[in-house]
């Protein structure tokens, strides 16, 4: 966690610096009032200060020997990260095929991937959960609420 706080704090500070750079191109103030750049500039400055405070705090703690063991014990679980990464990949693929395949079929493909590929549920359970979910969302959002969804070659 300590190493993560140092890296995270520095990354956030870098991000806020980039925002400050962009915000400095906005009009900071008019004759009698703050302009569109006023708030973003000050938010960025405060953001940089807080990010550096997190990094600095963690750095100071890291020097304390007692906390090195704690840092080591907080390593990320690779299996868990793989499941999260795979799910996000599946969601990205779903988004890229929504317009071509239709929202409901794309969601169905994603849910099959999630339940069978990522969660490794038994086939009947995974297929059942996926079918049940798409039928439920179709009934609620399309049939009852009349939401116009992107439709694909199957007409749904």
């Amino acid at each position: 966690m300590i190493r993560a706080d140092i890296i995270g704090g520095l990354l956030m500070a870098a991000g806020f610096s980039a925002v400050l750079w962009e915000a400095s191109s906005f009009q900071y103030g008019t004759e009698f009032a703050p302009g569109p750049g006023f708030a973003p500039v000050w938010y960025s400055v405060i953001g940089i200060a807080l990010s550096l405070l997190i990094a600095g705090n963690a750095l100071r703690t890291a020097r304390s020997r007692a906390h090195r063991a704690e840092d080591d014990s907080m390593a990320l679980d690779r299996g868990g990260l793989f499941r999260v990464g795979a799910t996000l990949f599946g969601l990205a693929v779903m988004l890229s095929i929504v317009l071509a395949l239709g929202l409901v079929p794309a969601l169905f493909v994603f849910l099959l991937f999630l339940t069978l590929g990522v969660q490794r549920l038994p086939l009947p359970l995974g297929v059942g959960a996926s079918v049940g979910t798409v039928v439920f969302v179709y009934l609620v959002f399309v049939y009852f609420l009349g939401v116009p969804i992107p439709r694909g070659p199957l007409g749904i």
């Binding site: 708030a39 997190i54 969660q119 996926s130 959002f141």
Partner: protein
């Protein structure tokens, strides 16, 4: 408050459709509260799109039902499997689970339901009495006072969220920053849009809230699967005995008072209310050494407090238009999506929404009691559904729900991106509630800030020369300094644990 207003409220709340949606709200709220890993913020955010076909008052009745229903739902898992369904039920695990181990799970759940009913009903009376005068007072507020109130809400939420205060404040600043994306409403200049037309209107709060609260949480559950143990406790004897009553009535009363007043404070919320109620009960108890071993007042006090707090939290939302927590921030966003302007004028411009909601909460609390006493075993059986099945169901509803608000695939993408951000935040201890609250308040806060400085010709003295804003800002400063002072004092005492302050 006029009697006619309440009559109007009941005439709205007692229509068959509103009764049905109040029942649906408290039922869904109880289920959401019972499910570990999905709290009221996520539940309301995910189900919000489903309410778009409804009249605003019906939708608010259902959302409020989910909110206070979830407070009770969390109790079921706390008592039966020692796992709080949501954070406000953490304290209930201490004595509730011990009671279950002694074969008194039914009494714990029964007292929690009755305590929640008493607290919920009493706090609705207080809401009805307190909100209108506060709204009348708030009508006299100008931009500096509103700016100060919003700063107070953000700083207290950031300071009081679990973990690091600095991380909480940083997340609030990130939320404010996201709130600046889009066309500047005062001068019409585009900011951070990068020629993307989807960003011209800014970043909608719903994809962010669903992403951070729901998708981020589900990804975390995929990363670290929720392990629920099978329910072994026997559910019988739900009605408390006479001795249980004698032991609990003080706790219910104190829990109600503490919960309501803590709930009003911006940023505090039901979790802190239940902690304070438990601590107070232990302090005043004649048998403090028994706390943690399964005493019924250890269940009654925090359960009454969290229910009262959820009603108290509606006061700043309805009277001032300023939410004090992640959940009420989502509800504020809902009001905006229904085309209403939250704030002190809401009660005069939309009396049907305010009074209909108040009346529905009386009815909803009765429904909650009637549902929870006989149906506690049914709600408990929800815990037998494998969590792995709920993950795809919730993701599916969340994504299609976000799409349905503006028929925008872009918003679904924003949800996924914020889901990934929410997961990283969850892993590294960055709280999501300050970010969502700041995103909702950001445009209002910036407008109030700029209008204030316009009034003073650019001088920031306006915030300290006006007494109300000066006092509120001083309280906000204290809210930030208090954890720091406590940290320095504990360090000086040699008790400090190095790390975040």
């Amino acid at each position: 408050m006029e009697f006619n207003d309440l009559i109007l409220g009941f005439s709205i709340a007692l229509t068959p459709s509103n009764l049905l949606f109040a029942l649906l709200g408290v039922f869904l709220g109880t289920v959401i509260g019972a499910l570990p890993g999905i709290g009221p913020s996520a539940g309301i955010a995910v189900l919000l799109p489903v309410t778009f076909g409804m009249p605003p008052v019906t939708a608010m009745i259902m959302l409020a039902g989910i909110y206070y229903g979830s407070m009770y739902g969390g109790t079921i898992t706390s008592v039966l499997i020692n796992t709080p369904g949501e954070s406000a039920s953490v304290m209930t695990t201490l004595d509730g689970y011990q009671m279950a181990l002694k074969g008194r799970a039914g009494a714990a759940l029964g007292m929690a339901a009755i305590g929640s009913f008493i607290a919920g009903t009493a706090s609705v009376v207080l809401l009805m009495v307190a909100a209108p005068p506060l709204a009348d007072l708030a009508v006299t507020f100008g931009p500096p006072e509103y700016f100060a109130l919003m700063v107070l809400g953000l700083t207290t939420l950031a300071s009081l969220t679990s973990g690091s205060m600095i991380k909480g404040l940083l997340m609030a600043v990130v939320g404010l920053m996201f709130g600046t994306v889009g066309i500047d409403l005062m001068l019409g200049a585009p900011r951070f849009v990068f020629d993307n037309v989807n960003l011209m209107d800014g970043i909608d709060f719903l994809p962010v809230a669903v992403g951070l609260f729901a998708i981020g949480e589900l990804l975390f559950n995929l990363y670290q699967p929720v392990r629920t143990e099978p329910i072994k406790a026997k559910l019988s004897g739900l009605l408390p005995t006479r001795q249980d009553w004698r032991d609990s009535y003080g706790g219910v009363a104190r829990g109600t008072a503490i919960g309501f007043f803590v709930g009003i404070l911006p940023g505090a919320g039901a979790t802190i209310a239940s902690f304070l109620a438990y601590a107070t009960e232990k302090r005043v108890s004649k048998r403090p050494e028994k706390f943690g071993t399964g005493v019924i007042e250890g269940v009654a006090a925090p359960e009454s407090a969290n229910n009262a707090a959820s009603t108290g939290a509606l006061i700043p939302l309805m009277a001032l238009g300023i939410p004090g927590s992640g959940t009420t921030a989502v509800m504020l966003g809902a009001l905006t999506l229904y085309g209403m302007q939250p704030g002190p004028l809401l009660m005069s411009t939309h009396p049907d929404v305010f009074w209909g909601l108040v009346a529905s909460m009386y009815i909803g609390n009765v429904m909650l009691l009637v549902l929870n006493l006989p149906l506690a075993p049914v709600f408990a059986s929800i815990l037998r559904i494998p969590y792995e099945i709920l993950i795809p169901v919730i993701i599916g509803i969340a994504l299609v729900g976000v799409y349905s608000v503006e028929n925008s695939v872009f918003n679904v993408g924003v949800t996924v991106v914020f889901g990934a951000i929410g997961f990283v935040m969850r892993v590294y201890g960055y709280p999501a509630a300050p970010l969502v609250l700041a995103l909702v308040l950001g445009p209002m806060l910036e407008r109030a800030l700029r209008q204030s400085l316009q009034m003073s010709l650019g001088s920031p003295e306006i915030f300290v020369t006006r007494p109300v804003s000066a006092v509120i800002l001083a309280v906000a400063l204290l809210a930030m300094l208090f954890p720091l002072i406590a940290w320095f004092r504990s360090r000086r005492a040699g008790l400090a644990v190095a790390g975040d302050c």
